[in-house]
């Protein structure tokens, strides 16, 4: 189970990569494995506002439709539109090609509440 060191994590299995003052969001390797083969990603509108811990998109597999929760509050500045044609990228490359949305955070202190890789590993062990 891959957990890159350079990312921050939520208890609900999203990851955040800080990139030029913005936050790139995706789901973890663990999450894609649990969801199984992803067949559809329902992405939000660019420019819409999201609130931390509230659903910001939906990922559907043959097993389940799961809400993805925004790790931080802010405005959606980009979405990974290629997932409309390639939802399988979330399974194949959850940390790179399978990113979901890019958020301009409104409150950067929220990032400090997220877990680092080691903490996320122990969160997985305890689940």
């Amino acid at each position: 189970m891959s957990i890159p060191e350079n990312l921050r994590y939520t208890e609900s299995h999203e990851w955040v990569r800080e990139d030029g003052g913005e936050s790139v969001i995706g789901i973890t390797d663990f999450a894609q494995h649990e969801l199984t083969d992803i067949v559809f990603v329902d992405l939000p509108e660019v420019d819409s506002e999201v609130e931390a811990k509230k659903a910001c998109c939906v990922v559907e597999s043959t097993k389940i439709a799961a809400d993805i929760y925004a790790p931080v509050s802010g405005k959606i500045v980009a979405v990974n539109e290629e997932l409309n044609d390639h939802p399988e990228w979330v399974n194949e490359s959850p940390y790179e090609k399978g990113w979901l949305v890019r958020i301009a955070p409104s409150d950067k202190s929220e990032l400090d509440t997220l877990m680092n890789a080691a903490d996320y590993q122990s969160h997985l062990d305890s689940e």
Binding site: E34, T36, D37, V39, F40, E60, T62, K63, E88
Partner: protein
């Protein structure tokens, strides 16, 4: 090429594939009435200029095609369904016989009331019986299925709040173990939904519920027993809290099968209920209906019930009330799925209160018996005695690398229908089990033995699980490609 490969014997071609031009299965006599030119009457905008591409077949081809398809199907008359009332449960044949009686089946909904008194009396009696079983003051039979019942029930709550000048109450609370239809119905009825978490016993967390109550809350939707199969024992405290905050309490009747004849939602404090007739009162399951989702209410909601409603003019005279001025209006064509109402009526008359109570008790006993048979190898998601169903957490079972989906598919090879998996969402690798009241201990013992055999296969022969099912007419389907690149049209 002629296909005589025995392994393809179950691959039934479509009617279009076996069609041959010019073949017919009927012969009509010479027309002896004046010819009516439909094309001229409808005009070129409405009248098509060529015939639709219908298949050309002989009568025996059609008879064999549909008989073979029916034999390839898994059905309740040949096998066991481990999630009974939700998917498929045995219905007594007498229901169908009564509903097929020409005195019922030949009625037309536009016939005069004086010609349909028997049908109206049946509907009126059913309204009263359902009031008795649910502890409500009045029932509407209009809704065509449980989900529509939810929608109608929520519209009733909205109409009632509007009549009080409280239309700013726009939040419906739903527990996190709720059926997906609950938030969907609330959204369709114009409400926002807020989720209430379960506590570690698997029941509604009363403190979190109380914290969520405020003057925006229109109501709380609950299933009792809940989808985990546990009775919400705090229901009286919950009802008091919701009513104290000015909200209405909605009962999702999906699990009434566990308590019918024993306890009544109305006595628990519920203001509105819907009943899924197929789950508790023995009407057909699956295939999209026809269904019935009657909605029951306490007296304060009666003025808003949908039209028409069957009323009683005198001891032996019944009528369709179409004039109720505060009604939310019509929610279905004519007066609901009448044939389904006949079946539910027959079932209730056939069993009576002692019989219905016995069915509920047997449903609970069967579920606990099966849970005990499985307990040493399959832990349940939550502890304690269950009601009519229980949820296995296959993550806690020793199934190696295999998951609930694999176990479910492998059951098909043993002639058992797959249970519902991955619901409720609060349980990882969930498998819901509900044997229902109609199964014998022998069937349950056999199912438990099959489950344990499948678990051993998960460890010892994982390939068997990964490739399952092996014995069904159609092998494992490629669900992923079907969902990602569906082919929805067959070219003719």
């Amino acid at each position: 090429m002629i296909d005589i490969d025995p392994s393809n014997r179950n691959m039934e071609p479509t009617l279009f594939q076996i069609s041959r031009e010019g073949r017919t299965g009927y012969a009509l006599p010479e027309q002896d009435t004046p010819r009516y030119d439909l094309g001229e009457s409808l005009g070129p905008d409405l009248y098509r200029d060529s015939s639709p591409p219908l298949p050309s077949l002989s009568e025996p081809q059609i008879a064999r095609h549909f008989t073979r398809l029916s034999q390839l199907n898994f059905c309740i008359d040949t096998g066991f369904y481990p999630l009974g009332s939700c998917t498929m449960k045995y219905n007594p044949k007498i229901n169908d016989q009564m509903a097929a009686d020409p005195d019922f089946s030949n009625l037309h909904p536009l016939q005069d009331e004086e010609d349909t008194q028997g049908a109206l009396e049946l509907m009126h009696s059913l309204q009263k019986y359902l009031c008795e079983y649910a502890g409500m003051d009045e029932f509407s039979l209009c809704s065509l299925a449980g989900a529509q019942g939810e929608f109608v029930g929520l519209l009733l709550i909205r109409a009632y709040l509007e009549s009080l000048g409280q239309s700013d109450r726009n939040v419906i609370l739903v527990p996190d173990s709720a059926h997906g239809t609950n938030p969907a119905s609330a959204t369709l009825a114009g409400f926002k939904t807020v989720e209430i978490p379960s506590n570690k016993e698997g029941r509604v967390d009363v403190e979190q519920l109380k914290a969520a109550l405020n003057d925006q809350v229109a109501g709380l939707m609950m299933t009792n027993p809940n989808t985990i199969g546990l009775f919400e024992k705090d229901i009286l405290e919950i009802a008091e809290a919701v009513h104290g905050a000015g909200g209405q309490l909605y009962y999702d009747g999906a699990n009434l099968n566990a308590i019918a004849g024993v306890a009544r939602p109305g006595d628990m404090g519920f203001d509105v209920v819907h009943i899924n007739l197929h789950k508790t009162f023995s009407t057909p399951h699956g295939g999209g209906g026809p269904g019935g989702g009657p909605v029951g209410v306490k007296s304060h909601l009666i003025p808003f019930l949908p039209k028409p409603h069957v009323g009683k003019k005198s001891d032996d005279e019944f009528y369709l009330n179409l004039s109720s001025k505060n009604s939310i209006g019509s929610v279905s064509g004519f007066w609901g799925n009448f044939g389904i109402l006949v079946r539910a009526y027959v079932y209730l008359r056939h069993h009576g209160l002692p019989g219905i109570r016995n069915n509920s008790e047997m449903a609970v006993l069967n579920a606990n018996f099966l849970k005990a048979l499985l307990a040493d190898e399959f832990p349940t998601a939550f502890q304690g005695t269950c009601m009519h169903e229980f949820v296995l957490n296959l993550k806690k079972a020793d199934t190696g690398d295999q998951r609930a989906m694999g176990v479910a598919k492998r059951l098909l090879d043993y002639g058992v229908h797959a249970p519902t998996v991955y619901f409720p969402l609060v349980v990882p690798e969930a498998a819901m089990i509900e044997p229902t009241e109609s199964e014998t201990p022998e069937t349950l013992r056999k199912f438990a033995a099959i489950m344990k055999q499948v678990r051993r296969e998960c460890i010892e022969k994982p390939n068997l699980i990964e490739g399952a099912p092996w014995e069904t007419p159609v092998r494992k389907l490629d669900e992923v490609t079907a969902a990602r690149s569906p082919v929805l049209v067959e070219s003719l």
